[in-house]
Symmetry: C2
Subunit: 457 residues, 2 copies
């Protein structure tokens, strides 16, 4: 049967089906460390909407599980593929079909990298705001499938706010057009928003109409502020928001992160303080806003400086952007989590992380998008990231419980994938969990689209 | 059976059930002119989530159609109730449960007026951006149920972008919590976005966590610009957007509207030009942006002036805000439509409206939110707004077709309700129409929630 599926696809889509074990091996993984059991049957490199429809039809007719995959940059095991599964790669669908300046939109294929899109847009004075740390190696389709976040969300919103319309191929191969090319549109249910963040379980995104905006120009003032403690820094970021100030970027590095990033770059960051806030403002009035933020940060005990020099600013931003790489470079295995809490609960969340770290004897550096309350507690352990020890999972579960108790969520921007599916029910409750599964069945009655992701298989 | 339902509700919810015909009569109507056939059984004035649950359970058990209603300000017949139907009024659920400055959110009950909320928020330096023309007599719950738009959407987004989370009572009386209290959250499908704009067909919104932002302060420069023709004005608004400028408000009044508003206020607006653009900028850099807009508008032929005097500005805005009232004051019957098109197709859309007006011999003034491409072509005729003549419907259908041909939609912000349900399939296509109905069934298996609205009964 499996051989038959592959043979059928090879006949239908010559030159686009690969079964070479070496090519399939990396598809078992993403950047989370998760590894799917076994190896997928084949990967199909779709080149057109028609190709995607053919793959879906074949998978649906034969009941073959289908995993859609962009660049494999996910952090929740959402696009990993194993035994008996077929991979649909959007890697060759990278065209920009339209850039419209008067309509402030771009129409693109899903496999295009976020960074590549934004370089093209910049040439037209435009910008697509979603800004995940992975932007140079993650695709627009993947960003949409996960409702990607990033550093700029408090001011510029999450991916959902930057997508106008989608073309989606359903499990049965039919093509669905959802959303609107217009700014406004209220005809029936918002299936476009429903698709965003659905992690490949409802359909395959084959084309996206993106809401773009004028590129932000002018000075980008940057503030670096050191604090005596992590709660102080978290309280300072909450104070900035409470003062009605809207920084583009507001990132928090805790003590462990400062040490790790410092080690990676060979610089001393730790002697200045136990925690660090990186803040940028942009747009008209940026300097004035930065000066007000500086005053606020100083008022609550920060030792802060403000720079408008682009090079100094870039290096300060890079400290934050390289945080994950610096952690990876330690060589330790890692489980990266992604809780979000209401912004005024940031100090409490850091306190809970410290408790959990002590209780389980595990290092948990937690860089955070402090501007929007999204923390990435990263559990470090010895061994392989693909085999998370049970005590780390227990610590993680305690972390999720703490986030929920503080009015938060267990995933701000990475999604559920395989890594967090066993905890999803705790957040949604049994009734909503079941309701969501029934919605899945409406789109994918045979359950062939990314089974075992988000929901338990 | 019907009498039994009412008796059961009266027992369960003493003092909250009204069956007086005079109280029921207005519930057959909204502001669109649509009138439901017959008269509803009763109206229940819910005072709590528990009340709403009780009403839903009773309606579901007895198979009684249930129409949720805020203030009845709708323009699509979405909350009108007739024979055999029960009305669930949110009129008494008007509390503000929480305003959080550090989290930039407000938690409110659904029956609160938008204007009342914003006055409360203003006292804390905050603001909820959804800004429908009806804001003084429409509820937050209604705004969410319709995904309301308004004048500020190009810059500040539609209602969907300003809602974080909802509590919703489902048809069976169960309470569902969707969305997140946090800025980011990607746990499962975005049922919060699915609820927004679902027009009372998926559940009853009983509590909303709103995303608020710092109130916009500082000078609000206002530009008034006259043009020799409607296409010239439409082209000017497209040019402003294409130049990367982001006015808060950009409204277009056509010749008929200028005449009508002028008559209403007893002033001469028409001698200055055949069309008018009203533009406001706000926030940091507002004056600089307004000056660049002024240059752009002048460059494409506008006779424009810029004012920073608040009183002059307010009167200019009021000209636009009173447009609908001025049309009503003519005493003519009216069918108000709500198409939206990509912004660069505004001149084409106005040309098509002129053609349709000539072909059917019907006056169609079309004030528009030019900044986001949303037009309100208003078909004037003699008779009663509740009995739209067939030739007007034919003209409207031609208008919808034109909007779809231009890449637009048949409703930008008013929704489908009863008035446009016969045209919804033309926009969605048969397959998506059926898919949307199946989603409705997941939430409301017995089909008791607002039946006959959005979809044909």
């Amino acid at each position: 049967m499996s051989a038959d599926v592959v043979a059928r696809l090879e006949r239908k889509l010559p030159g686009r089906v690969v079964t070479d074990p070496e090519a399939l091996e990396p598809l078992r993984r993403d950047r989370s460390g998760a590894v799917a059991p076994g190896r997928p049957l084949a990967v199909v490199f779709a080149e057109s909407v028609g190709d995607v429809q053919a793959v879906c039809r074949t998978a649906n007719e034969t009941g073959t599980p289908l995993v859609t995959r962009g660049a494999g940059s996910g952090l929740a095991g959402g696009a990993i593929a194993g035994d008996g599964e077929l991979v649909l790669s959007t890697e060759r669908m990278t065209r920009i079909l339209e850039i419209s300046i008067p309509n402030q939109l771009a129409v693109v294929e899903p496999g295009l990298f976020n960074g590549d899109l934004n370089r093209q847009l910049a040439a037209h004075g435009l910008w697509w705001p979603p800004d995940p740390a992975s932007k140079e190696f993650s695709t627009v389709g993947g960003n949409i499938a996960m409702n990607a976040g990033g550093l700029l969300c408090a001011k510029y919103g999450v991916t959902r706010e930057s997508v106008l319309a989608l073309k989606v191929v359903l499990a049965d191969g039919s093509l669905l057009e959802v959303g609107h090319r217009t700014v406004k549109g209220v005809t029936g249910y918002d299936l476009c928003a429903l698709m965003i963040g659905s992690e490949g379980t409802l359909g395959v995104i084959v084309e996206a109409t993106l809401k773009v905006r004028p590129a932000v120009t002018g000075t980008v003032p940057t503030i670096g502020a050191y604090f005596d403690s992590i709660p102080d820094a978290a309280a300072a970021s909450a104070a900035v928001t409470a003062a009605g100030l809207r920084p583009a970027i507001m990132e928090l590095l805790d003590t462990y992160m400062l040490q790790t990033v410092g080690d990676y770059h060979g610089i001393d960051l730790i002697s200045a303080g136990a925690a660090y806030l990186l803040i940028q403002t942009d747009g008209p009035g940026a300097l004035d806003e930065a000066e007000r933020i500086l005053a606020e940060v100083t008022r609550v005990g920060g030792r802060a400086e403000l720079t408008t020099d682009p090079e100094t600013a870039a290096s300060l931003v890079d400290v934050r952007r390289s945080g994950f790489i610096a952690l990876e470079a330690t060589g330790r295995a890692m489980l990266v989590e992604d809780v979000a809490v209401p912004r005024d609960r940031m100090p409490d969340m850091y306190a809970r992380i410290a408790e959990i770290s002590a209780k389980y004897g595990v290092d948990i550096p937690a860089p955070s998008h402090a501007g929007d309350g999204n923390l990435h507690p990263s559990f470090l352990f010895d061994g392989s990231s693909s085999e998370v020890p049970e005590y780390v999972w227990q610590a993680a579960e305690e972390l999720f419980t703490a986030a929920l108790e503080l009015g938060g969520t267990l995933s701000g921007e990475h999604g559920i994938g395989t890594l967090k599916r066993r905890f999803l029910g705790a957040e949604l409750g049994a009734e909503q969990y079941e309701l969501q599964r029934r919605i899945k069945q409406v789109f994918d009655p045979k359950g062939i689209l990314n089974p075992g992701k988000v929901f338990a298989a």
